[in-house]
Amino acid sequence: MAGIWLIPFFPLASAVLLLLSAGRMPRQLAAWLGAGSVGLSAICVASLVNDFLADGQVREVTLWTWMTVAEFTPRFAFYIDGLTVVMMSVITGVGFLIHLYSIEFMWDDESICRYFAYMNLFVGAMLLLVMADNLLLLYLGWEGVGVCSYLLVGFWYRDPANGKAARKAFVVTRVGDTAMALGLFLLFTELGTLDIQPLLAAANSTWQVGDTLPVLATALLLGGAVGKSAQLPLQVWLPDAMAGPTPVSALIHAATMVTAGVYLIARTSGLFLLAPPTMEAVAWIGLLTLLLAAFAALVQQDIKRILAYSTISQIGYMFLALGVGAFASGIFHLVTHAFFKALLFLAAGAVIHCLHHEHNIFRMGGLRKRLPVVFWSFLIGSAALAALPFTSGFYSKDAILLSASEVGGIGLWLWAGGLLGALLTGIYSFRLVFIVFFGQAHTEPDRQPGWKMSVALVVLCALALAGGLLALPLADVFPAARAHEASHAIEYISIGTPLLGLLLAYLMFLGRQINFDRAADSIAGRRVRGFLFSGWRFDQLYEVLWVRPYTTVAHWCRNEPVDRVYNAIVASSQWAHHKLAALQTGELRWYATSMVFGLVLLLAVMLRNAT
């Protein structure tokens, strides 16, 4: 397909148009321009996918070389293989549905124009990220999505809390980005190129498995991935990022951007395979994160925070898959997760939308009859999240657990941990369903979702159910995975665990056979609950570990030598400015005199040197 460049072009151009209109575009036009451009991209992607599935050819498209100065020749070039195609489909497909949904969700917002501008910019940047043929362009997209995330988390900037959340997200991910930038520098100086395929080839020919340099480089890249994908220890920003509009959470903080880290590791898997210690670290990070987030999700009360923790947890599964070398399984889970998590967020958004911005699940309840479309969507989404049999989540999660179980040594631990996570997932996802949609109604919905929301929900329902049957064209991208020879016991356990979780959730939150409240209300229970509620107190830990020392040092520096140096630079610049500006008297004679003075000076220098 010739017009591959059109795919990121549509949303980017639309973003420029929307920004230029500075909010004066009619909202009808703005909304449909915003959604339509992504739709056009999606159509282009569909055609590309069609072509790709027919011939399976890797496509390399060089739009132009940015510049050629010495050996530095950064190019605007795309590299389209199976992985890219999968990512592009998810971004534009799910992205379009969310844009469609947004039209209705954001209709009453005065800044709808700005909203769609940012969203389109995000989609464009994300497409650049996944299509990039070199790490520099990838980094451009990487930073682009970071900026869009910042802008969208703080979209309702009039509330200072939102601004704070946006800043937190930006600063925390910057920590990872810095590591990643260092990694890029290291790779460029060591291997002399940033083009991904030549880079992987060069790495394979110059480095041996287990060398120090690849470990270092991949560790730095992992830093970037951990930041962007909200994994331990940089997971703290994601729950707060829920301050943005719900469709933003669906698109950016669930379906696409947060999986950029997974994509990065998968894309450079050739490099990671050279560094077994990093691989192991990836697996452990994934496992720990998934458990930690799952426990935290158990006790949350804000509907979006629960989903945020579940996102962190599910990305943990993907990392686990990557860490054990099951790249294809990780990407598979990425895709199914994009479907069901977008579905869940959109359904949650619909609930929030219909209950005039109520977030607390304990003030909901009984919505099963009142919002049937939303209820079924949520139910299907939760089933997929909990990996109940025959949903998409089941296939992908099962593949990950099987892969983990087959790794020698630590594999058993990873498998057991993953299984515990799956149990917890079952509990918290159905806790949500039971509390929100069953039992007593606490708030009455004041409207029903319209057709745009419903269409998006229904399509995503279908994907969340049937997405597990997709065969992703990843065979040529990653080294062939071993055939699964799992014993039936492991299979049954995998199937049974989520069901057990569902049962427990039923007993605790709907049937009340297990009195969870009493246990939770005991002193120890309250402690544990508070601990989990705060996300294992990571915010407090970082407050003590980093923020407070930093602000203390900053305070300390305010009147101290370090700051004085900066002040001195500023003061001396200003002093020099005033001194120089004083020469600009506006007096013609003085100007002439200064010129003669300059001439005399230059002549003097010349005469000194000529003789």
Partner: protein, 482 residues
């Protein structure tokens, strides 16, 4: 003069004939719209005719002019810059002074002066080109004679620039006395076999340099710059800052190359010294300036300082080609950017009182009222600051690369310091533009709605294109300059 010669100087011929036609047209019927369109057409045609002239390049047309790829490149640039200036100033001039027609005639003549400088390889053509440019500019600066600031600016510029021209001429006279030659190349050859004392050569050369350095407003010959920029009408300032400076730089570089003045290390070191002073002083002076025109004036001092780096780089013969290439790219990028920045000031100064909206407060919240125009300024400022994906970044990257290849660490260091100061005051304008209009209520209506918008679009596209896809131009420069 034969047919080939005529073809080689076709761009100049087009301008000269165009000026005559314009004069007749003005005498026949006064119509500013027609005159502006004709003037723009003439200058654009002149720029386009460079392609025809390129077919016979390189040709030496009499000992005065040299039509080669270098001169034609800049004749094209000046032609287009002049055409855009004419279109930009169309409504401004009608609003700010009566009888606006002669403005465009003078603009064509000034552009011709700049093109002559691009062609010049001889003292006579240098003198004439320089003065054709300057004399037209005196009148252009003083054009809106309803207000007094332009008069003051024109008087200052006339007196000082006349003195600078006389200084340069005196230097040339001494060189002529010493070498018996007036062509640049011949001067260079004469320098080695001079009969008059060697001691006169370097002082003579430095007088020439000082005269031209005034026109480039290098420190310490820079004091006039902000006053003249501030007082002159905004479109003229744009022309003065881009075309006039570019033309002088082009001829200075040609003089140094043809006469091989690079053999005098001390002379080149003086250019480096002035470059350092200009980078520092220009940026420091711009730092706290609240008048955008003056801020841009000071920043132009700094930019000329950056540009002067190429002289030091050219000291080593290996990097000379790269240096010339960098300078050419820089000039092209700088011209587009400067015209864009002053173009905005032209478009928003619509006060019939003759006042221009050039204070920082007056662009406050511009982004919310006039997004396209604000984008024009934004792109121009980012380009001046050298932010990636704009023309200015590539230009600066080129310069840095040239400086690195020439091992000019001190210049490079100053460049970095200067640029970092620069970011502060450029972004301050951006900050003001993005302030909410509620905070600062300034009304300004925009003249020439559609023409201004189209021109803004073209300029934005040019600057971004030069920043995003600079490769074709780089290739072209490499091809013609090596």
């Amino acid at each position: 003069m034969n047919a080939t010669d005529f073809q080689a100087v076709l761009p100049l011929l087009v301008l000269a004939i165009g000026a005559t036609v314009l004069m007749l047209q003005i005498a026949w019927v006064r119509n500013p719209g027609l005159t502006a369109a004709l003037a723009a057409l003439v200058m654009a045609l002149s720029a386009l005719s460079c392609r025809l002239a390129a077919e016979v390049a390189p040709t030496e047309v009499t000992p005065l002019l040299q039509a080669d790829r270098y001169s034609l490149l800049f004749a094209t640039l000046f032609g287009f810059a002049g055409a855009i200036t004419a279109l930009l100033s169309r409504d401004y001039v009608s609003l700010h002074g009566d009888e606006p027609e002669e403005f465009f005639l003078l603009l064509v003549l000034a552009t011709m002066g700049a093109s002559v400088l691009a062609y010049a390889i001889h003292v006579a053509s240098l003198l004439l080109g320089l003065e054709l440019l300057s004399v037209s500019l005196y009148a252009l600066i003083a054009y809106p004679n309803k207000s007094i600031l332009p008069l003051e600016a024109a008087a200052k510029y006339l007196v000082l620039s006349g003195a600078a021209s006389a200084t340069a001429l005196f230097g040339f006279a001494l060189l002529y006395a010493a070498t018996g030659a007036l062509g640049f190349t011949e001067i260079g050859q004469g320098l080695t076999v001079t009969t008059t004392g060697q001691s006169v050569l370097l002082p003579a050369a430095v007088m020439v340099f000082a005269g031209l350095a005034f026109k480039l407003s290098l420190v310490p010959f820079h004091l006039w710059t902000p006053d003249v920029y501030d007082g002159a009408p905004a479109p003229v300032t744009g022309f003065l800052a881009s075309v006039a400076k570019g033309a002088v730089f082009v001829v200075l570089l040609r003089l140094f190359l043809d006469a091989d003045l690079f053999r005098y290390r001390i002379l080149v070191e003086i250019t480096g010294l002035l470059a350092i002073f200009s980078m520092l002083a220009g940026n420091l002076l711009a730092l706290l300036q609240t008048n955008i025109k003056r801020m841009l004036a000071y920043s132009s001092i700094a930019h000329m300082g950056y540009l002067m780096i190429v002289f030091m780089v050219s000291l080593s013969g290996d990097s000379q080609a790269l240096a010339v290439e960098a300078a050419s790219y820089y000039l092209i990028a700088y011209t587009a950017t400067t015209i864009a920045a002053f173009g905005l000031l032209t478009l928003i100064s619509t006060d019939a009182s003759g006042r221009e909206n050039v204070q920082l407060q007056q662009v406050s919240g511009l982004f919310w009222r006039q997004p396209l125009l604000a984008c024009l300024m934004l792109v121009a400022l980012l380009s001046l600051a050298g932010i990636p994906l704009t023309a200015g970044f590539i230009a600066k990257f080129y310069l840095v690369n040239a400086a690195v290849s020439g091992h000019n660490w001190i210049l490079l260091f100053t460049l970095v310091i200067g640029s970092s100061i620069g970011i502060y005051y450029y972004l301050r304008v951006v900050y003001y533009m993005t302030r909410r209009p509620e905070e600062h209520r300034v009304e300004q209506k925009i003249i020439s709605a559609w023409r201004g918008r189209i021109l803004s679009g073209v300029l934005i596209a040019t600057i971004l294109l030069l920043g995003i896809a600079p490769q074709p131009l780089m290739h072209y420069l490499k091809a013609i300059l090596h």
